[in-house]
Every structure is written in C-alpha cells, then in structure tokens.
C-alpha cells in the first residue's frame, strides 16, 4: 500500500471523475424528471444500482486479477459468470425499484406515472448494465496489462462513468417516452 502510488494514480482519476460528475449534474438538471412524475424518487436507486452491481463486479474482477483467476488475455470468457449475474440483477432490481419508487410517490400524495417510471427505469438499467459490464472487463484487463492497480483506477472510474451514463441514458428514454405519449 504505497501512498505515492495512491496519490499519483488516484488524484488524476478523481479529478477526471469530478468533471464527468459535473456533466452528469448538468444532464440531471436538464433531464426533465418532472415530466415523468415519480421518476425523481427512483433516480438515487437507479444510480446506486449501477454502483452496486457494476462497482462490485469491477472490484471483484480486480481481486480475481490479483489472485490470478481473471485472465487479462481472455477477459470475457474468464468473467462470463460475473456478467450474467450483473444482467440478471439489473433487470430484476430495476423492476423492484420502479414499483417501490412509484409507491412512495403515491404515499407522499402525488400521483406517479407508473408505466412511464417502469419503462424508463428498466430500459435504462438494461442498456447501462450491458455497457458497463463490458467496460469493466475491458478496463480491468487493460489496467492489469499496463501494471496499474485496478483498485485505484477502474473501480472509481466505473462507478462514476456508470452514474453519468445512467443519467444520460435515462434522459434519452425520458425524452423518447414524452415523445411517444
């Protein structure tokens, strides 16, 4: 656990992430969450589902790489179970979160757009989880090949890219949903 390496690798990553987060913030303030009532209640769950699933997936890949089980030369075949688990959990938990989010909106006295919330959240979750799992595999094998500790770079990178990606994809699906209805 070398502090200089931590500073040298983590600080630039944190700064870049900050810029990406800022972009996410801009998208969130412009996403039009007010057009799908109830969506704002699901936003934290949607974002954290990404962090939970892709974050632990990447972190697990990091440990598997350290232990020599993950093979950077055959990245996808040595991590297919992790990808499968990530996609199964993304779909089922996004349905769960949409229903709960709509319920809590209903309980707070507003009327949620049930179908809109479910459609937007589930589609966002499927698309972003597919992109992020692939990104995790590629970036862990990349950083391992270049002897950068994946723990310092890939995990924070992925958790932030995931947040922003979810917000951007969500904004796109909100836009589509408003167009179609």
């Amino acid at each position: 656990m070398d502090r200089k390496a931590l500073i040298k690798e983590a600080f630039p990553a944190l700064l870049i992430l900050g810029v990406v987060e800022a972009i996410g913030g801009i998208f969130l303030s412009g996403a039009g969450t007010d057009k799908v009532p109830g969506l704002l209640a699901v936003v934290p769950a949607l974002i954290s589902l990404r962090g939970n699933i892709s974050g632990s997936f990447a972190s697990r890949l990091g440990s598997l790489a350290h232990l020599g089980i993950f093979d950077p030369k055959h990245p996808f075949s040595s991590s297919k179970d992790g990808i499968k688990a990530a996609i199964i959990m993304s779909i089922s938990f996004s349905v769960f979160a949409s229903v709960l989010g709509s319920l809590i909106t209903l309980m707070s006295g507003s009327s949620p757009d049930w179908i809109g919330v479910v459609v937007v959240v589930v589609l966002t979750s499927i698309v972003s989880s597919t992109i992020l799992s692939s990104l995790a595999v590629l970036s862990v094998s990349f950083s391992f090949k270049h002897s950068i500790d994946p723990d310092n770079v890939v995990v924070p990178l992925l958790s932030t890219v995931g947040d922003i990606l979810s917000i951007m994809i969500m904004a796109a699906f909100v836009w589509l949903w408003v167009m179609l209805t």
Binding site: M1, R3, L6, I7, A10, F11, L14, L15, L17, G18, V19, E21, A22, G25, I26, L28, S29, G38, L40, A41, V42, V43, P44, A45, I47, S48, L49, G51, N52, I53, G55, S56, S59, R60, G62, S63, L64, H66, L67, I69, D81, G82, K84, A85, I88, M89, F96, A97, L100, I104, T105, D149, D151, N152, V155, P156, S159, T160, D163, I164
Partner: protein, 186 residues
C-alpha cells in the same frame, strides 16, 4: 471462498442489494419532497451527482484497496492498523481537494449552458465543502468498518463493502446536500 460462479454471486449480493434499494428509495422520497427547491434553483440539482459520488468514488477506493490488501494479507483486519489509517486520511484529503476544484469548474460551466446560477460562488463552494465533509465523515469510517467486518466473517469485501458504502454514500449525500443548502441558503 467460491468466488466466480454466477449463482453464488447473486446469492451473496442480492439480499444486500434488495436492502440497499429500500434505503435508496427512502432517499428518493427525500429528494422528491425537495423537488420544488431544486426546480427553483436548478443549478443545485447539478450538485447532487457530485456529492453523491463522494461515497461512490473516495470510499470505494478505500473499500477496494482494503479488499485487495486483506485478500493478499498485506493489511491486518484491525481498526488500529497503520495502513488502514493512512489510507483513510490520504483518500479523504485527495477527495476533498478534487471535489472543490470540480465544483468551481461546474459553477463556471453552468451559465455557459444556459442554466441559471442564482447563487454566489462562495455559497456554492461552501455548500460543496459542508456536504463533502458530512458525507466523508460518514462514508470513510463505514468503508473501513464494513471491509473489516466482511473479511472477519469470511465474506468477500468486494461484494459487501462496495454496495454498503455506495448506498450509505448516496443517502448521506442526499441528506448532506439538503442540510448544506438549508445552512447556507437562508
């Protein structure tokens, strides 16, 4: 520890993620109830991902470093381990500096994109500082404690720490930003 088959990954992660979802949805309820404030000063909504990410990135660096360190036997699973304290301090300082720089950039970027920033720069920075301090003081100890507990109980810290810490980070992020806004914006 069987570590790489999908059923065991789902079995180990799912109950925790389900719990996290319940907590996140309560956070969503808080955000939903503040929605009028966020639509009145739209720029503040742009700070939400920034503050939420304090948990997501700073603490996950600590969490996953500890996870690997524990797996490799380089770190003792104890709260007094010097490496553990060093990690907490360094990552905390780095995270704070990075956050203040980013918030300043965001403040400069927003007007260029036509989003009204009807708040002063110092208040903006102060909101960021207060909210980051609140989140870090919750999330960094949480990362260390959950990693060590997970490791002692023979669970993989990767499957346990990251979801716990990012959820704690999100909830404390939402509460921290609401508190900071209430303290700074009269």
């Amino acid at each position: 520890m069987r570590y790489d088959d999908w059923k065991s990954i789902v079995r180990e992660s799912a109950p925790l993620i389900a719990l996290m979802m319940l907590i996140e949805i309560s956070g969503g309820g808080v955000l939903e109830s503040m929605s009028e404030v966020f639509y009145a000063i739209p720029a503040l909504l742009a700070l939400v991902p920034l503050i939420n990410a304090v948990g997501g990135n700073t603490a996950s660096i600590i969490g996953s470093r500890l996870a690997s360190g524990l797996h490799l036997g380089m770190i003792e699973p104890s709260f007094r381990d010097k490496e553990v304290l060093d990690n907490m301090f360094t990552v905390g300082m780095l995270g704070m500096i990075a956050k203040l720089i980013t918030a300043s950039l965001l403040f400069a970027m927003l007007p260029l994109l036509g989003i009204a920033v009807n708040i002063s720069f110092w208040k903006w920075l102060l909101i960021t500082f207060i909210a980051t301090v609140i989140v870090m003081s919750v999330v960094i100890p949480a990362a260390v404690i959950t990693s060590i507990i997970a490791f002692r109980k023979g669970k993989s810290p990767d499957d346990f720490t990251i979801p716990v810490v990012s959820t704690v980070g999100d909830i404390s992020g939402i509460i921290a930003i609401v508190l900071a806004i209430k303290m700074v914006v009269p």
